[in-house]
Amino acid sequence: MGKVQAPKRNQTIAARRRRWAVLGFLGPNLIGFLVFTIFPISASLVISFYEWPLLGDAVAVGFKNFLRMFTQDPVFWQISFNTIYFVVGYIILNLVVSIGLAVWLTSGIRFAGLFRFVFFLPVVAPMVANSVVWRLLFVPDTGLFAAALATIGIEAPNWLGSPNWAMPSVILMSVWAGFGYNMIIFIAGIQAIPASIYEAAEIDGVNAWTRFRHITFPMISPSIFFATVMTLISALKVFEQPYILTGGGPGSSTTTIVFYLYQQGFQNYDLGYASSIAWMLFLVIMFVTAIQFWGQKKWVHYA
């Protein structure tokens, strides 16, 4: 009996020591995570049940902020719609462009490295700088886009001044600024596909589309899944573009959820309401991501 216990005790001591070592290695990151992420997030949950001005005393109001969001706020639903509009438009365009270019760049073209570098550049440039430059490109009448269209006889719309064109313009700029990241992921995915599969397809006389549909796409589906989840989360959190490019206008046509919660928090000084919007968004992101993980079984193939 004693013989059996001794090694067991040794094991627990060793395990305990290991646990401390693990904690020691995780410590620096963990403390930062607790102090700068977990604590503010928990605090914002508390604040969301208060009427919490930037100055003065906070008053507990229960679910009033959430009720206001769904029943009284005159623009909340429009802003939710704007966010969905942005997310859907951005994800579809981003994936089409990034997969398309990844396939093209891995097809043995010349200067592939140079193109890859150039296409990735906007990802590195700060979104604030991108937005300022695109603000100039979108200037009505004299901006680059308007002037270019004028040379072929098309009168350009007032991109950022029209409620119909403002959101597509924001999406366009965002896709330009963001597709490079996904493109790099897809290139890595495609390059990892064994050449023998393509050789076999070639022997079978398969055309380019079938090759993409039945080899490339299923083989990089884990990458696409990863890219979709990450892009969706970042798209739901879009902020810089309305902040710098459009100021959320015209009207509220490019105001997205995160920009709106910023406005409520730091222009309207209503931190309670801003926090409740943030938590609403958190729940939506969690829900949508869960659905994606559930849905992936149907189309993602892990080799």
Binding site: L54, L55, V75, G161, P250, G251
Partner: protein, 402 residues
């Protein structure tokens, strides 16, 4: 008996600590917005002037970009970490006035004469009879115009008090070759003069009232310059802070409305001659709004008397002359304004500003005015572009501030 003993003890402790406070040097923090190194240098110089005059007082300047300044102020207040001296813009008084103490009791001790300062901005920095800050600069909103374009078009330049008909005629004459006569956006500073001049008011019972007939009329009139007469450009929605100023400075529009604090900076950055005139008069009446900033002592300051002494130097005659000569804001200290006009070197500027100040509206605001201004800028785009009725735009904004 016991009580009086205690009182005496407390009094003697207090007097000792007072004596200590007077003799021992104090360091005071001073918070103010600054958007360039040049501005920071100006403020630091003023802080040095305080120390020169009162060697026991050292002022430590803390700068924040204008965009973040008020958020930082509120955050510091919440953390009980406010600087002793802080800048306060008149339009922010309803939101941040509660952080400041009434300065009136300090005036006599420091031998400070508030009447030497422009009364409109002194009034603008008051709240419920309390003087929350004493002003260092001010400005009535005036009409900036491109002298070069006026000369090219062969039309007379605006005279102080010029009429709305003259204004419209000029705007029409200046609109050609893809350039516009005038530019404005939804920022209230840019169109409230057109409401005030027709006898309107945008505040009722201390609440914003943007949907009354006069406000709608004045706002519609300005937006029609773009949407109907096409003498002002269509607008993009933008996160830029002052789109009309950009349009004016790049030469795309020949007139716009802004504060005189922009004048010296603007003059240095454009390739044409700049003039300033009054906002156009409706039936002989031109009423413009104004803005200005002052310095106050915060509630948590442990040395309010010293802080006020420091402020009296920061906005004192020498400092105001220095500010004027380095081409910063238009000085609130009346005696120093002459220096400013000299540095600005814009003919007719004095006459224009004097005329504007005679009828100026102190531009009262309500809490969260910042949000209202942002919403107006954001929503007015469609009114200027003619895709939505101006009255509907104002209704949408009003609905969000109720």
């Amino acid at each position: 008996m016991k009580h009086s003993l205690l009182l005496a003890l407390a009094a003697s402790v207090a007097s000792v600590s007072l004596a200590v406070a007077q003799d021992s040097p104090v360091t005071l923090r001073w918070a103010m917005s600054a958007d360039s190194q040049a501005e920071i240098a100006v403020w630091n110089h003023l802080a040095d002037m305080v120390h020169e005059k009162y060697p026991a007082i050292t002022v430590k300047f803390e700068s924040t970009a204008f965009r973040d300044y008020y958020n930082k102020l509120a955050t510091q207040a919440a953390a009980n970490d406010l600087a002793c001296i802080a800048g306060l813009q008149a339009q922010r008084a309803p939101d941040y006035g509660q952080l400041f103490v009434d300065l009136t009791p300090f005036f006599e001790d420091a031998g400070f004469d508030i009447s030497a300062y422009e009364p409109s901005i002194v009034d603008g920095l008051k709240q419920d009879g309390k003087q929350l800050a004493v002003p260092y600069d001010l400005g009535p909103y005036v009409l900036y115009y491109n002298k070069t374009r006026f000369a090219e078009a062969g039309i007379p330049e605006p005279k102080p008090g010029w009429s709305v008909d003259e204004f419209v005629a000029a705007a029409k004459a200046l609109t050609k070759d893809g350039k516009y006569g005038f530019v404005a956006d939804g920022t209230p500073d840019m169109w409230l003069p057109f409401v005030l001049s027709i006898g309107g008011d945008y505040i009722a019972d201390n609440r914003p009232d943007l949907t009354n007939d006069k406000v709608v009329e004045g706002f519609s009139w300005v937006t029609a310059l773009a949407s109907k007469d096409h003498v002002a450009p269509p607008l993009p929605a933008t996160g830029a802070s002052n789109y009309p100023a950009d349009q004016f400075r790049s030469g795309n529009a020949a007139m716009y409305i802004d504060g005189p604090w922009q004048l010296i900076n603007a003059k240095a950055n454009v390739q044409f001659d700049i003039g300033i005139g009054t906002t156009p008069a409706f039936g002989g009446t031109s009423i413009t709004t104004m803005s200005g900033t002052g310095f106050g002592v915060t509630r948590s300051c442990e040395h309010p008397a010293e802080a006020f002494k420091a402020i009296s130097v920061i906005i004192g005659p020498e400092a105001q002359q220095y500010i004027a000569e380095s081409g910063r804001g238009f000085p609130a200290y009346k005696e120093a304004q002459a220096y400013w006009y000299k540095v600005a070197g814009v003919e007719g500027a004095r006459e224009t500003i004097d005329t504007a100040l005679k009828t100026v509206n102190v531009y009262r605001t309500t809490p969260r005015w910042n949000r209202i201004a942002q919403l107006l800028q954001q929503y007015a785009v469609e009114a200027f572009n003619g895709t939505k009725a101006p009255a509907d735009v104002l209704k949408e904004v009003q609905a969000q501030i109720n």
